[in-house]
Symmetry: C2
Subunit: 295 residues, 2 copies
C-alpha cells in the first residue's frame, strides 16, 4: 500500500452550517513544501492533533476523535473546530486511500502563522506501518516518571495536560529512553506513584475477569481505542473500570496491553523487570474487534 | 524596518571543517511554503531553537547561543550541530538585515521529516517588535506552578528540562494565563516552592547591591542575556549569585527584571499582588549595555 495524501483546510467557524465544505479544502503533495517557516506549530509546538486509524478504507471512531479535537482546542484556547468540516476532510482523505489494508489519517490544527490572522489546519493520510510483531509477540515497557504529582493537572490547567498538543518532544524522548533501556515503549507514572498512560497509547490491565485503565483525570488523555474496547468488553459481559492505579499494582496484572488508534492492541510482556503473561486469545480477539469497521 | 529573511540549511556533520558553508544554505521567501507536512517539528514539536537579538546589524552573543544549541541537541539526542556552519548562517542572515534598529534571528534544528534520513534546519530573521513600553514602564507578572518538584529534572532527563525545545505549548499557555489574570508575563515556580524562570525569559532579582538569579540546574534554561548582564555587573563591582530562591523571597526584592535576548531587560512592577519598585536608572543602564554590540 503506497497511499499518501494531504489536504490543507481553511478552518471554518463553528456557526458555518454549509452542507459541503469542499471549497475549503486544497489537496497538496505531502512531500512538497506546504507550510511557511512562520508556522507556530513548528516554532512552538503550538497546536493540537488527532491520529485516526483506517481499516479497509473505513476511518475508525471518527466522532470520538473529533470530540477530543474539540476538547483539546478548548484547553489550548484555540478557536473551536467546525466538526462537520473536519468530518468531511477525514472522509475525503479516506476516499483517496486504498480499499484494503490499514492506514492512518492525521488531523492537525495549528495556532497559525506568527502574527497571522487565523489558525492553519491540515489532514494527512498514509498507509500504516506493519504492526504484526508488536500485536502478536508483544512489547516490553518500562515505567518513567512524568515528573508531576497526581494533583497537578487540576490546579495547573496551563500545563495543558489532557490536551493532545503538538508539543510531544517529551513523549518522543520517553520512547527513546525506553529503547535505550532495551524496551519498546514506556508507561508514564506520577511522581507520587500512580499509573498514567504511555506516550502515545493507553494502558489496559486485566485482573481476573476485570479490565481496568487509569481514570482519565486531567493528566491523562481520554483514549478513543481504550473506550471503544471497554464498550465492547462490557457488551461481552466483562467488568471494566477507570480508576486510580498505584504503580505497585502493575506487576500483579494477569495481562496488560497498550492500545492506540493505529498500532491497536499491543500485549505487554514485561513491565520493568517483571514478566507479564501474554494472553494470545484475548489479544487476537481485541485486534479482531479493533479491525472491524467502528463508528 | 521591514527586514524579513529565511535560509534553509543542509546540516553538516561536526567533522565537516570546510571554510565556507555557503553551498549548504538556500535562501527562501519566509512567507512562502518551505516545510512539508511530514516535518516532525510541526507534528511533534520535535526539535530545538535559539533566538538571537540583533542590534544595528550585529547579532548578539552568538557563541553563547550556539553553545546552548549544542547543549539542547545533546539533551534531545539530535545530531550535534556544526557550530561553524550555524555561525556562518547567522552572519548571512545578519548581512541581509537593516544596518539600524533591532531584530531577531531564530535558529531551528528539527528532527526532520518523519521516516526521513536527516534533521532539517533553518534560520529566520526579522525586525523586532517595539519593546519601549515594557522596557520603560515595566511589566506585571504572576507566579505559575510549573508542576514539577525541584528534584525532578535530575532524576528524569527524558522530560528534556534545560533543553530549548520546540515543544513550547505550555510556555505559550502560561503567558495566555498571565494575560487572562491582567498581567503581562509569568514566572514559573516549582511545586515545592522555588523560583524557576519565565516562559521565555530569565529572572533577575536585586537585594541591596546584590543581584541574584535562580541557579541554572536541570530545570532552568541557562539565560544568555542574564549571563551577559551578570558578567557586566561584576565588572561594575556588583555581587552576583545563582542560587535556590524560595518563592517567598520574590515579594522582598528591591527590584526585579525579566531579561531575554530580544525584549532585553523588562523591569517587573508587580509579582502577583505585590508591587515592586521600578528602578529606572538601573533599567536604563541594563538596556544601554544590552544594546551595545556584544560577542
Amino acid at each position: 500500500m503506497t497511499w499518501r495524501f494531504a489536504l490543507v483546510i481553511q478552518p471554518a467557524g463553528v456557526d458555518d452550517d454549509r452542507r459541503d465544505f469542499s471549497a475549503t479544502f486544497r489537496t497538496i503533495d505531502p512531500a512538497e513544501p506546504a507550510l511557511s517557516v512562520g508556522e507556530l506549530s513548528t516554532q512552538r509546538g503550538d497546536g493540537i492533533f488527532e491520529s485516526i486509524g483506517v481499516v479497509d478504507g473505513h476511518p475508525q471512531e471518527v466522532a470520538a476523535h473529533l470530540d477530543r479535537l474539540a476538547h483539546s482546542a478548548e484547553i489550548c484556547d484555540l478557536p473551536a473546530p467546525n466538526l462537520e468540516q473536519w468530518r468531511q476532510a477525514v472522509a475525503r482523505a479516506a476516499e483517496h486511500g486504498e480499499r484494503r489494508g490499514e492506514g492512518v489519517i492525521k488531523l492537525i490544527l495549528s495556532r497559525g502563522v506568527e502574527h497571522g490572522p487565523a489558525p492553519t489546519a491540515w489532514v494527512t493520510a498514509s498507509a500504516a506501518a506493519d504492526f504484526t510483531v508488536p500485536r502478536t509477540q508483544g512489547i516490553r515497557v518500562v515505567t518513567l516518571d512524568r515528573g508531576y504529582a497526581s494533583d497537578v493537572p487540576d490546579r495547573a490547567p496551563w500545563l495543558l495536560l489532557g490536551a493532545k498538543t503538538l508539543s510531544y518532544a517529551v513523549n518522543m524522548a520517553a520512547i527513546r529512553e525506553a529503547k535505550a533501556r532495551g524496551a519498546d515503549d514506556a508507561i508514564f507514572v506520577t511522581s507520587d506513584g500512580y499509573v498514567l498512560e504511555a506516550p502515545t497509547a493507553s494502558l489496559i490491565l486485566k485482573f481476573g475477569d476485570r479490565f481496568t485503565t487509569p481514570a482519565p483525570t486531567g493528566g491523562i488523555l481520554r483514549g478513543t481505542t481504550q473506550q471503544s474496547l471497554f464498550d465492547h468488553l462490557r457488551e461481552e459481559g466483562y467488568e471494566t473500570a477507570e480508576e486510580l492505579i498505584p504503580v505497585d499494582l502493575l506487576a500483579r496484572a494477569d495481562a496488560a496491553w497498550l492500545v492506540s488508534s493505529v498500532r491497536l492492541a499491543a500485549p505487554v510482556t514485561a513491565i520493568d523487570d517483571t514478566r507479564i503473561e501474554l494472553d494470545s486469545g484475548l489479544t487476537q480477539a481485541f485486534n479482531r474487534y479493533l479491525l472491524t469497521p467502528r463508528d
